[in-house]
Amino acid sequence: MAEEVVLLDFWPSPFGMRSRIGLAEKGIKYEYKEEDLRNKSALLLQMNPVHKKIPVLIHNGKPVCESLIQVQYIDEVWHDKAPLLPSDPYQKATARFWADYVDKKIYDLGSRVWKTKGEEQATAKKEFIESLKLIEKELGDKPYFGGESLGYVDVAFIPFYSWFYAYEKCGNFSIEAECPKLIAWAKRCMQKESVAKSLPDQQKVYDFILQMKKHFGIE
């Protein structure tokens, strides 16, 4: 059966990057469609009427929304190559827990770092670094969160590495100084073609953030 896979996405979105990596890991050919979020396409509104957000994965005309749900779907449908989730239920639950942690903590706290200033930003920075240290602890001495190979948590988290430079410049701090093991892990991930191809250049992301700040009237 001819598989038709389309990804509606927006280049700086760490959520979109997750699905890009997932698809690349599985060697799936797909059509990438860049959305202009200020002028959302009819296709996006039709495929994600509930949230009207990217990314949307469209497989043979049927939409899958929410990046972590997409990654699990990709892993389950194309299960014969590069498994992302462990097969053991407890390890799977642990992987899901930490991917969820990235969503609950890393994304929100990171956003607060670039969106705020003064005391609010100082608090955001502190909490952001704490959350990075906690997940760094979970990595331990493993090469990847997935163990010997890239796994679900790696895919969930590595997109935010493309935002690290922006966080550091906005918050005036060094993530590597605080979490050297995490940076080593990130660089290891970037050695993989699936990741390198899916993440935008950090400077480009920073320029984008500066534009966003101007747009929102921050500093």
Binding site: P89, K92, A93, F97
Partner: protein, 234 residues
């Protein structure tokens, strides 16, 4: 197989804990219930089992703690596979749909419900109410899509979305009474009304549902506590 090594750390009023208990009941798994005295105190076991969030529910299976209610429910479904029905669909696309709607309940519907409970001003409450009612209408649509004419979101049997949303029914009733509105109304969401009855009457559910009066009382105290904590100090 004797399940002497399954423990649930929870509290009677928590809808998230309820999800775990319903899932275990569906699978006929015996477990030890450990009631936490939240928020007054957290047991050492809870702090050790969920050091990241220090919250309930936690499922402890053997020596392994599993946290976050929806993750726990998927775990239960994957471990206890010998029983009659599975909680998540076997088809990958349907599974993605179930996860999507459970996430909707979690990330959109529940926060709106919570804002309605603790809304300090009339304006806050009005905005939250509009959001909650809109949410029920969206979920009515989802029910139509997922149930395919059957009694539950999961079809013939209780599934993932049923558990995610059904666990909130007690609170939906309590908060509705507080606002003097039926949040799940016959007028806007007739299918959900019917579904709510089926769900609450189900074998695996009816004995674990908290008493609505007790919940209402708890809700009032919880609201007062939260508002006091949020109030500006003089």
């Amino acid at each position: 197989m004797a399940e002497s090594n399954v423990m649930v750390l929870g509290t009677w009023a928590s809808p998230f804990v309820l999800r775990v208990k319903i899932a275990l009941h569906l699978k006929s798994v015996n477990y030890e219930n450990h009631e936490e005295n939240l928020p007054e105190s957290k047991s050492d076991l809870l702090l050790k089992s969920n050091p990241v969030y220090k919250k309930v529910p936690v499922l402890i299976h053997g020596h392994n703690p599993i946290c976050e209610s929806l993750i726990i429910v998927e775990y239960i479904d994957e471990v206890w596979t010998t029983s009659a029905s599975s909680i998540l669909p076997s088809d990958a696309y349907e599974r993605a749909q179930s996860r999507f709607w459970a996430a909707y309940v979690e990330d959109k519907f529940f926060p709106a419900l919570r804002r309605l409970l603790i809304g300090a001003t009339e304006e806050d409450k009005k905005a939250a109410l509009a959001e909650v009612v809109e949410g029920t209408v969206v979920l009515e649509g989802a029910f139509g899509e997922l149930s395919k004419g059957k009694a539950f979101f999961g079809g013939d049997n209780i599934g993932f979305v049923d558990i995610a949303l059904g666990s909130l029914l007690g609170w939906i009733e309590v908060i509705g009474k507080q606002c003097e509105t039926k949040l799940v109304s016959e007028a806007k969401t007739p299918r959900l009304v019917q579904w709510a009855d089926c769900f609450s009457a189900h074998e695996a559910v009816k004995d674990v549902l908290p008493e609505v009066d007790k919940l209402a009382d708890f809700g009032l105290k919880l609201r007062a506590k939260i508002l006091k904590a949020l109030a500006p100090t003089n």
